[in-house]
């Protein structure tokens, strides 16, 4: 898992086309020729990553909008962002 610094901002890769469909987010990476999908909270995180955003900022917003404690939220987001990085969907801003 790539190391994520809580204060380093991430942003969506510019070549990704994202579609909001049926309450989910479907993304296509031209670079990889693959589809990715995000559901639920993932779609909201994706929205926030439209601008350079740090793990700490994301944790703050998601904790406000969803019923989750900060430690769990941060851990889940860390895994989720690492997955996005692994799949080339986001990059350091």
């Amino acid at each position: 898992m790539p190391h994520l610094d809580a204060s380093s901002p991430l942003i969506r890769k510019p070549d990704l086309v994202a579609a909001a469909m049926d309450g989910e987010t479907v993304m296509m990476s031209i670079e990889r020729g693959e589809y990715f999908g995000l559901g639920g909270v993932g779609s909201r995180v994706w929205e926030l990553l439209d601008q350079p955003t740090t793990l700490a900022q994301l944790t703050q917003v998601i904790c406000t909008e969803y019923e989750v404690d900060a430690a769990t939220c941060r851990g889940d987001l860390q895994k989720f962002l690492a997955d996005l990085l692994d799949n080339g969907l986001v990059a350091p801003a």
């Binding site: 086309v17 994202a18 909001a20 469909m21 049926d22 479907v26 589809y35 999908g37 559901g39 639920g40």
Partner: protein, 293 residues
């Protein structure tokens, strides 16, 4: 394998003797569709060819479904008519009956079919289906199916023509009232699967023999239903939505741009004028008139 003579022989008590036929006008042949010895031969051949699997207990199984994204998204209603299409279509019709008879289990299956023209209309229909009509429904892409001219379709599974007519009225009203759909979206009631009409003739002429019911009940005890998908439901849904998006792009349905914020899935290739600009300018000076295009 049975000889052609055996296939054509009438089978007493299984539909021929009393003049009832299965789905084909060639009743002598089609009535044998559910003759147990022929079914046994067909199932054996299907296992040999790999079209069916047989487990250690002698139960037949369908090979695992492909790993690709399903073209369909469904809304299942527990109290709705049971839809055992993999048993009825993939096992009974395709293998046991070798496409020569419509399963007894499908005799009351009527569907309300909606044919959206665009992805935007398909998504609107999906919203309607999620709102519910009391019956199981599905919608998705059909453009890859060889046996239909529809690009997209939605279906509502009904138990009998009367229920189908009632569901049709409700769905027609909802479709007409939806600004993304409207009265121009075609709808109809059909019976069973399209494959049945291709192989067994028009559905208003199908006839069924109660003898089939026993045969099918017995075959059901020899059939092991496919295991539920191990893919998480959300992942499967996202794969399907991705396939819909990709298909819309591929067939030139630009309504997909409504969902991508106007961004194309792939950049449009640059096009070049077949006539060099200088040559065009010279030509228009010599002979004024329409540009060379």
């Amino acid at each position: 394998m049975p000889s052609p003579t055996t296939v054509a022989a009438p089978v007493a008590g299984q539909g021929v003797a009393d003049g009832r036929s299965a789905c084909s006008p060639a009743s002598r042949v089609s009535a044998t569709a559910w003759a147990p010895e022929l079914i046994a031969d067909r199932l054996h051949a299907a296992v040999q060819s790999g079209a069916l699997l047989k487990d250690e207990q002698g139960l037949h199984q369908l090979p695992p479904a492909g790993t690709g994204a399903s073209p369909w998204l469904s809304v299942t209603v527990p109290q709705g008519p049971s839809v055992h299409c993999r048993f009825l279509m993939d096992f009974l019709f395709e293998q046991a009956y070798a496409k020569s008879a419509v399963p007894w289990g499908c005799r009351a299956c009527y569907k309300v079919a909606v044919a959206p023209h665009t992805l935007a209309q398909l998504m609107a229909l999906r919203r309607l289906q999620e709102r519910g009509t009391g019956v199981t429904a599905k919608c998705g892409i059909e453009v890859d199916r060889e046996i239909t001219q529809n690009l997209y379709s939605g279906f509502y599974y009904c138990d009998g023509l009367e229920q189908a007519r009632s569901v049709y009225r409700k769905v027609r009203d909802a479709v007409d009232a939806d600004p993304a759909l409207g009265p121009e979206v075609p709808m109809r009631i059909k019976r069973g699967c399209t494959e049945y009409e291709i192989h067994c003739g028009p559905s208003d002429r199908w006839a069924f023999d109660p003898a089939q019911a026993e045969v099918e009940a017995s075959l059901k005890t020899q059939f092991k239903p496919p295991p539920p998908s191990t893919q998480p439901a959300l992942k499967a849904k996202l794969s399907t939505l991705g396939r819909w998006l990709q298909t819309a792009f591929r067939i030139g349905d630009d309504s997909y741009l409504q969902f991508t914020g106007g961004r194309r899935l792939y950049p449009a290739p640059v096009s070049y004028d077949p006539v060099p600009p200088q040559e065009m300018a010279d030509s228009s000076q010599l002979a004024p008139g329409p540009a060379h295009r």
